[in-house]
Symmetry: C2
Amino acid sequence: MRVTGVIVEYNPMHNGHLYHVEQARRSTGADAIVAVMSGHFLQRGEPAIVNKWARAKMALQQGVDLVLELPVAYSAQSASLFAFGSVAVLDALSIVDSICFGSESGDIRSLTALSDILVAEPPQFKALLREELKKGHSYPRAASDALARYAAQDESIDSHLAQQPNNMLGLEYLAALKKLNSKIRPATITRIASGYHQETVTHPSIASATAIRKATFETGIDTAEHLLPRSSFSILQAEWQAGRGPIAWENYRQALFTLLHRATPSSLAEFVGVDEGLEHRLLRAAMQANTVHDLIEQTKTKRFTWTKIQRALTSILLGLTRQEQSELHLAAGPSYIRVLGFTERGQELLRQASAQSSVPILTKLHKEKPKMLELDLRATRIYSQGYPVWQPGAESWDITLPVLIEKASKNVSRIER
Amino acid sequence: MRVTGVIVEYNPMHNGHLYHVEQARRSTGADAIVAVMSGHFLQRGEPAIVNKWARAKMALQQGVDLVLELPVAYSAQSASLFAFGSVAVLDALSIVDSICFGSESGDIRSLTALSDILVAEPPQFKALLREELKKGHSYPRAASDALARYAAQDESIDSHLAQQPNNMLGLEYLAALKKLNSKIRPATITRIASGYHQETVTHPSIASATAIRKATFETGIDTAEHLLPRSSFSILQAEWQAGRGPIAWENYRQALFTLLHRATPSSLAEFVGVDEGLEHRLLRAAMQANTVHDLIEQTKTKRFTWTKIQRALTSILLGLTRQEQSELHLAAGPSYIRVLGFTERGQELLRQASAQSSVPILTKLHKEKPKMLELDLRATRIYSQGYPVWQPGAESWDITLPVLIEKASKNVSRIER
């Protein structure tokens, strides 16, 4: 079987994602699609709008054959860590032939050249980066500006690609493949219709997840029905009806403000991503703000972007300290592969992978767990505190729920117990 | 003016408390009553059913002339610290002639003799205490049993008084008066109708606050109407209607479970009252429990009483570490007197006290605040996270709300702004 990997968050899975899966299959000639998906806390530092089991189900019903969970140690982190963790999971599985990601451009040659600079970090690039950081920009902004300036010397590279924010993750995927010396072949497909962060809906049936979440919170899920595959829509509806969403940062107001009110600048600075004085700004804002939105708004500066602040809040909420993070040895890649669900074809993939994968593949949990997995379980316990309607036992769903098994042929969801 | 002090929690103020205020006034011949009242977290380690401003208002409308706040550093603590802090506030005010407290017995001579033993801690008493602790009892239980055994040698003392739990606070008040070498004269009145902890209602119009809270949570405030002074009832009704109650531990479920899920045994053991292995039991229970009630139920043992666990949870919620507590110098007594409200007669008392009190009397807050007061403000910010309906700005009510001023003659409440 030819196997293509995709790196996703599906927050929630919409028509644009469906198009991406179809394109990935077509452009790589894949027989099967494996997705690495963030769990409950996402790359932009947000809790997922709906839990990971519901999101895995959407994926399985829309053409993905196997859904693996990106450990939270990588998911709510910088583009570089997120990309490295995701690619490392696919690489460790040992049966993935290609990775297919969306970009603003299909120009894989220029993208690869740019990512090579990110990996090599030549001195001149580093000097440009320092220069850009001095302007007070955030790290991601400074890095892409420095990269564009450095690459502009080489006429064969389309250096502007570095400044399109949606390409940066792609560059990081390519960099990760190189760092891992992976045999996986990269492929890119051009994004259509809507930018990643675009908030408004401009295409009749395709909009960004950001726009769909916005519509859901402001006018209800029904107004986003035409932007979602039928199964995504009914899964979301069922979850909302059961009181399990929609989830946003405001659902963690009590925990977050309590944590901030009892913190000191130095205790806060122990958490991953709380640095360069962010601790002082956060504590000051917490004394004035009434909502998490206010809190972020009042904390934000040119350097401390919305995303950076949200990621810091995730670390604070989960209690992820620099000390704990250092014990996870992130540079070594995930020490396990967690399966969230599979179709019949996915099951076949798992059979193949189990003989070849470089780390254990977990479909059930054992008593002794890697530290990185303990952090995933903690994230679920804390995430479950935010359900609008109290769900007794939700804290232990990570342990008690079996993996999802979908009969792809019937395209009907069921959870085997 | 002859001034009598009472030490109260008014959670909520009911007919029994009204009787106590009237008896205190009558038996001591007082012209004015000063109450020291716990703020938002109470001696048994619980959040108050309604905020401190509402409880102060009840007091002012039912015969108390001046309401002072017991700093939270003392309020959610052992009987000994609670009593010491409360008596120290009244002593520091310098205009209080007597303290009047309820007990199972009016026998002030025996109570004084017993409290003298608590202060002196003779070696034989300490040996008995160690013996009782070895039996696996909680500290309060062991202390009262040891005290009763020690006092049994002296026939002139009614040693059984030590074993009635409702007397222990009284003994601690007497001990505190002695430690402070206070000129305040103790007086006791016999409790009527209902024990402190009694959960069921047996008297037609008097029941314990415990029974009233139980009725409120189980069948609604209306079923407790006949047990409350009219003004208490309407204050509670108004607060509930505004979405500010009733408050119980469950209202802090998200914050508390989040804190426990992200704690380690050693980080948890830093908090006041988390000792002797309680940290391990709490963390184990947090993995199983769905509610705060379950959590306490699953943690509790013969030694770790419900009250001890609740007090530990309060420390955890407020982030009160042993380190921070040591910096508060509790043995020196409160470093300020915080006024929550007064009647016209109370205002006259404040005028007298302001010239004589041994610590500053605060009716408004200044920018520079004692550490102990910072802890009170933190407690309010965290308490306000538990209101059933979100109250924007509630975190800063401690700073923005003026003290209550009641016209005793009209007996109508108003907040002067």
